[in-house]
């Protein structure tokens, strides 16, 4: 589905994560929460990181900003390059400038992500003052503009309000305004709509899309909601047990899922018009990050592979390989997997925007 031209486009990526490994030392051993994750994010692109709870999505996003507490956490390997600059060995002072200024993050729980003892204005303006050389009046103006951009009316008044005076959707808008006030290049949205009700979800996601269009930023969208992915993502990375198991454009992934786990996920989604059937569930549980099996981490729940392939699955962990142009996946059972190469997953594909589609 994806146009080949976009795959080979010479654009320079915003963010390149290569073989990232974030481990946690626990009393029971080392928990390999993120165990070799690679992806590439381009400007004006939305990359969705999908997977069930506990698969390492959030740790990946925290690792990018180096927010994982060390110890017990530890960046065991890999690299995170922002515009070619390695973030993992950046000094703390430099890292502080990157946080908020270059890469911003919005969190899952808007209810608890704002400090209850300060007004909205205090919090936005403090962040602005940190990353931009402006005086007080200018900072207020920027903050007001930021609130206006996220669709909050009467921003001058809203700046004076405390978080408890706002609804959940409003708070998430404020969080987005706060994240965008310093004009970051990358926005990490860690399940930005999970805590909101459905109508507000749609509004927030649309807002993110509009802001992305106007500011050209790349969005790393972390979610477990395939509906959200289908509507918003350009490229999808499916994570399972600390690894990416499939990586493709959104159209390719939804039309031709290759990995049994992806297929399972898609089968779990309820469909309109299909009556009288129980929803499909993937049997079994995600293996504990303390003791991953030797081979494919999905093998124990997999019903697809049989015989010799299954033997191999249990013995040897399949790497992420490009099995078709622009389609990466990791399972021995896929046709042509043995001959495929391990390349850096990188797709600069952007879906046609509604406005663009109209003019075309």
């Amino acid at each position: 589905m994806s146009a080949p031209a976009s795959i080979t486009s010479p654009e320079s990526p915003l963010l390149e994560v290569t073989n990232l490994q974030t481990y946690f030392g626990t009393e029971d051993g080392v928990a390999r929460a993120v165990d070799g994750v690679s992806f590439t994010l381009f400007p004006r692109q939305t990359l969705a990181l999908v997977g069930e709870s506990g698969c390492g999505k959030s740790v990946t996003s925290m690792s990018i900003l180096r927010l994982v507490q060390t110890p017990p956490g530890r960046y065991a390997g890999g690299s995170i390059r922002y515009r070619g600059r390695e973030l993992l060995n950046l000094p703390d002072k430099e890292m502080q400038k990157v946080r908020g200024g270059q890469i911003a993050m919005i969190f899952q729980e808007p209810m608890t992500s704002l400090n209850p003892v300060f007004t909205i204005g205090d919090q936005i303006i403090e962040a602005i003052g940190l990353h931009q050389k402006v005086d007080g009046a200018q900072a207020v103006a920027i903050a007001q503009h930021a609130l206006q951009r996220v669709g909050i009316s009467d921003p001058a008044r809203r700046l004076q309000e405390y978080p408890h005076q706002m609804s959940g959707g409003m708070k998430q808008r404020v969080m987005i305004a706060m994240a965008l006030a310093c004009q970051p290049q990358v926005l990490i949205a860690d399940e930005p709509t999970t805590a909101l009700d459905v109508t507000i979800q749609a509004q927030i996601l649309e807002l993110l899309r509009d802001l992305q269009e106007s500011s050209q930023m790349g969005i790393l969208l972390i979610t477990h909601d395939l509906g959200v992915v289908a509507e918003n993502a350009d490229v999808v990375a499916v994570m399972y047990a600390g690894k990416i198991v499939e990586y493709a454009t959104v159209y390719e992934l939804f039309d031709h899922p290759l990995h049994p786990y992806t297929k399972g996920l898609l089968a779990c989604v309820p469909r309109l018009g299909k009556e009288g059937q129980r929803l499909f569930t993937i049997p079994g549980q995600v293996p504990s990050p303390l003791q991953y099996p030797l081979g494919c981490r999905f093998a124990a729940r997999c019903t697809e592979c049989q015989g010799a392939v299954r033997e191999r699955e249990l013995r040897e962990n399949p790497p992420l390989r490009e099995v078709a142009p622009g389609h990466w996946m990791a399972t021995w059972s896929a046709p042509g997997f043995a001959d495929a190469k391990e390349t850096m997953p990188s797709l600069s594909f952007r879906r046609p925007r509604v406005a663009a589609a109209r003019t075309a």
Binding site: M62, L65, L67, Q96, K97, V98, R99, G100, G101, A104, M105, F107, Q108, E109, T112, S113, L114, N115, P116, V117, F118, T119, G121, E126, A127, L130, H131, R157, Q160, E161, Y162, H164, Q165, M175, M178, A179
Partner: protein, 410 residues
């Protein structure tokens, strides 16, 4: 409940919006009847401590002596009396100004800057008057016994305070009015030195307030700093630090106090410092626990993700949120300090005579070798009970008002 019965006029838009966190807590606190009663009782105590020279004093407001008009009560006011009066007046003015400001300003920022201006002005006046008092004003030592003068007919047109006795005015020994039963002249009787019990009861309010507040402020400062450091530096520092807290907790305060009194004599300030130095551990534990909790919260992660420096995260974002339970502990601590002062004074190692305190009055009431003098026991005992009770109710009321689980029920 009255809100449903009598519909109040809708607040102006600005008023409705101006509800800071503490305004919400305060409103919820005031919803409880018992809370309001306890608050009123503490306010009465404070007012009493400030105004007691005008209520119970041996010197008359005004009198004619040797054909001349005198104003002995005013002249006999000490530096401490003046300072308390000035501070009391400033606090009262501050409360009125605050109310007006809240009513007038719709914007939090404006309100805040106005508050800061007024606060600075008030502190300036307080500091200037304190400096002036201690620099230029000297306590006047008045040795005249105005009651004796009046009896001998030398004092004319005397206007006495409502209770014409100070805390150290003694009835002359020849009248034999020591340990006198309550009479019209002495409503609560007299103590062993022929001093009016009611007057001493009222003057005690100063000691009670001072010991509670000052010792707890000392404990608060140490506890907050220590606790926040422990909560922040988790790990080895925390483990060693908390062992030190346990060591301090193991110090028997009462024996320490007795030892110090035995070595250095009685000194109210020393008592406060010792109580403060041994009672910060609870506050430190609370602050540490709060910091351990808060560092996990999303807004701290958000502050980090926004690139804020550590200083701002620790003191701007974490500390104000961690102080909430401390305020509750503080009020409980004040109650505890009042109790310990009473105990010490009862044991005869508290405040130095003739300074009155409820505990020392109790001591005089029930010397085991003598008869039980109920009139000296009931009132101070009741007041100790009420004051400790009131502080505890305030602490509990604040805790309930702050409790987020109750917030949800609104």
């Amino acid at each position: 409940m009255t809100e449903t019965a009598t519909p109040e006029p809708l607040p102006a838009v600005g008023e409705a919006r101006l509800r800071t966190y503490w305004a919400v807590v305060w409103r919820r606190f005031n919803r409880g009847v018992l809370n309001r009663v306890a608050r009123a009782w503490v306010l009465v105590l404070i007012a009493l401590a400030v105004l007691v020279p005008f209520l119970a004093n041996g010197s008359p407001y005004t009198a004619v002596l040797d054909g001349q008009h005198h104003y002995p009560l005013l002249r006999n006011l000490t530096r401490l009396d003046w300072l308390l009066l000035i501070c009391g007046a400033l606090v009262l003015a501050g409360a009125l100004v605050h109310r007006q400001l809240v009513r007038r300003h719709a914007e939090v920022d404006e309100l805040r800057s106005a508050q800061v201006r007024w606060l600075a002005a008030g502190l300036l006046v307080a500091a200037a008057s304190a400096a002036g008092l201690f620099g230029f004003y000297h306590d006047y030592l008045d040795t005249r016994d105005y009651h004796a003068l009046q009896r001998s007919g030398q004092l004319h047109e005397a206007v006495f305070a409502p209770l014409p006795w100070g805390y150290k005015d003694q009835e002359p020994l020849e009248l034999d009015r020591t340990f006198a039963y309550p009479t019209r002249e002495h409503f609560l009787g007299t103590d062993g030195n022929g001093r009016d019990a009611l007057a001493r009861l009222l003057w005690s309010s100063r000691v009670v307030l001072a010991i509670g507040l000052i010792s707890e402020v000392i404990a608060l400062v140490i506890g907050v700093i220590y606790g926040s450091l422990m909560g922040y530096f988790v790990g080895r520092v925390d483990i060693l630090g908390m062992r030190f807290v346990e060591v301090v907790e193991a110090i028997p305060t009462l024996f320490l106090l007795i030892t110090f009194v035995a070595l250095y004599g009685r000194n109210l300030f020393m008592l406060m410092v010792i109580i403060g130095l041994t009672s910060w551990t609870g506050i430190a534990r609370f602050v540490r626990a709060e910091f351990l909790r808060i560092r996990q919260l999303d807004y701290v992660a958000a502050a980090k993700a926004a690139g804020l420096p550590l200083r701002s995260i620790l003191f701007r974002h974490m500390l104000p949120n961690g102080l909430t339970p401390v305020i509750v502990t503080f009020t409980f601590g004040v109650a505890g300090a009042v109790g310990s002062e009473s105990v010490l004074s009862f044991l005869g190692i508290g405040v130095e005579p003739p300074t009155p305190s409820w505990g020392s009055m109790l001591n005089e009431a029930g010397n085991p070798a003598e008869t039980f003098r109920w009139w000296l026991a009931i009132a101070p005992g009741l007041l100790i009970f009420l004051t400790v009770f009131a502080y505890n109710i305030i602490g509990e009321g604040l805790r309930d008002a702050i409790d987020p689980r109750l917030n949800k029920m609104e």
